[in-house]
Every structure is written in C-alpha cells, then in structure tokens.
C-alpha cells in the first residue's frame, strides 16, 4: 500500500466516519442537481431530508465547502451557459434555470463569468460559426 493510500484510509476514518451525514448531504446535492430550476431554499431542502435548516447548512458546508445557496447559484449559472450556447434567448434562459428576475440573473451571471448573458452568447455563437 502506498503512502497516499494509507493517507486516504486515515483521512476517510476521520473526516467521513459519519455515513449518515454523508448520505444526507449527498441526497441534498442530488436534490439540488435535479430541481435547480424550481424555487429552492433551505426550508424546502430541510423538509426533504427532515433535518433542521441550520444543521443542514452546517453539514452541507462541512462536506462540500459551499453553502447550498452557493452551490445552487453555480449550478444555475452552469446550466444557463449551456442554454445560451445552444441559442436560447436570455429571458427564457433566466427562467429556465430557476431565476425569478432578469436583473438579478444578469448581474449574477456577469459577476460569475465576467460577461453579461448577451455578451457571453454572442461570443459563443460567433466561435461556433
């Protein structure tokens, strides 16, 4: 067994010893992956796994290094980029990935990617020509 394999075993025993918690956060992440386009918040997620909102927040951050909200935003932006590359209109994209306001979608998109949705789409579509 290599040094790295020994370390994996050691770390697994310390960090991932609580399988119940691991199962909970994996289920929550999968729920976000499959429902990112709906109205998701801590309330909905905590009802889904029957855990308190704050416990869920702590667990998710502990195992994924991000809050569920941060994870959800990244997921929505990733899907929005995919839709824009495929030629979907900006407004349609905004609602298709679960945002409720075009303004907050555009601002967030620019913060995360450095470009507005329109700029991003133009650039991507011109590249594929």
């Amino acid at each position: 067994m290599t040094f790295y394999e020994q370390e994996l075993e050691r770390i697994k025993g310390i960090v991932y010893s609580n399988q119940g918690q691991v199962d909970t956060v994996i289920a929550i992440r999968n729920y976000i992956e499959n429902n990112y386009d709906t109205e998701l918040n801590l309330q909905v997620l905590s009802h889904f796994r029957f855990v308190s909102k704050y416990h869920l927040l702590r667990l998710f951050k502990k195992y994924y290094g991000q809050t569920p909200k941060q994870y959800l935003v990244d997921k929505r932006i990733e899907k929005a980029k995919e839709h824009l590359r495929n030629g979907m209109k900006v407004t349609e994209t905004c609602f298709a990935v679960g945002f409720k306001s075009l303004g907050s979608f555009s601002t967030l998109f620019k913060t995360k990617t450095g470009k507005s949705p329109t700029e991003y789409q133009k650039e991507q579509l011109s590249r594929s020509k």
Binding site: Y4, E5, K12, Y64
Partner: protein, 131 residues
Amino acid sequence: MRVTIMSIPVRDQEKAFQFYTKKLGFLKKVDMPLEGGNRWLTLVSPEAQDGPELLLEPAPIHFEPCKVFQDALMQAGIPWTGFEVDDVQGEYDRLTELGVEFSVKPTAMGTVKIAVLNDTCGNNIQLMEIL
C-alpha cells in the same frame, strides 16, 4: 488575473501528447515549437474548449530537482493533479480496457469517488467524481 494554464511535468512530450489525447481524450489547443525540440504544448477538455489549458511541460528533462520531486510523488502514490469526471467507475472501465494502469481503484471517500491512474510520463493522476 485569470487561471488559464495548469502545468504537468512530463518526461517525453510526444508520448504525453499521445496519452493525454488518445487515452484520456483531451484536445490539442496550442502546439508551438521552442528551442531544442521542446514545444509549448497545451490541451483542453472537449467539454470546456475555452477553459483552462493543460501545459505538458518537459521540466523533468531539464531541471533535476523537478525530476526528483516528481519521482518522490510517484513513489508515494501521490497524484500530481486531478480531473473531474461524471462517472469514475465508467472511466476506470474504459481506461483499463485501453491498458491504463491504476494504483487506486474506484473508491468512495465521503462525498467524492476517486481513482488514481499512471500517465506513463512520470505522474499519478487522480480522477474525481462528486457524489
């Protein structure tokens, strides 16, 4: 400032190019001749062709301490770097079929599943799937 280049030290650029494109599936982005037969050789993921580029860098051939460090990591089984995949088990099956050797078979580590392969150019490379 932007993250655009991630460097991987390789013993043989052409061999590495063949492995990373033919086996792992990366695409050539830039291939520019430099002095002494060296190349500025970068690859991208087919799913993110405008994303970060992998630089296959011949550092261990030209700078002994790099070779010593690379050998030490290889011997300890420590990955030089890692790539995210959708399905570690599926990649493991596909790559073993192509003759790629793994020092760590698909293993769940809490919220990730990992496997570690030998890139035949001096490095262990970790594949990671987020669960």
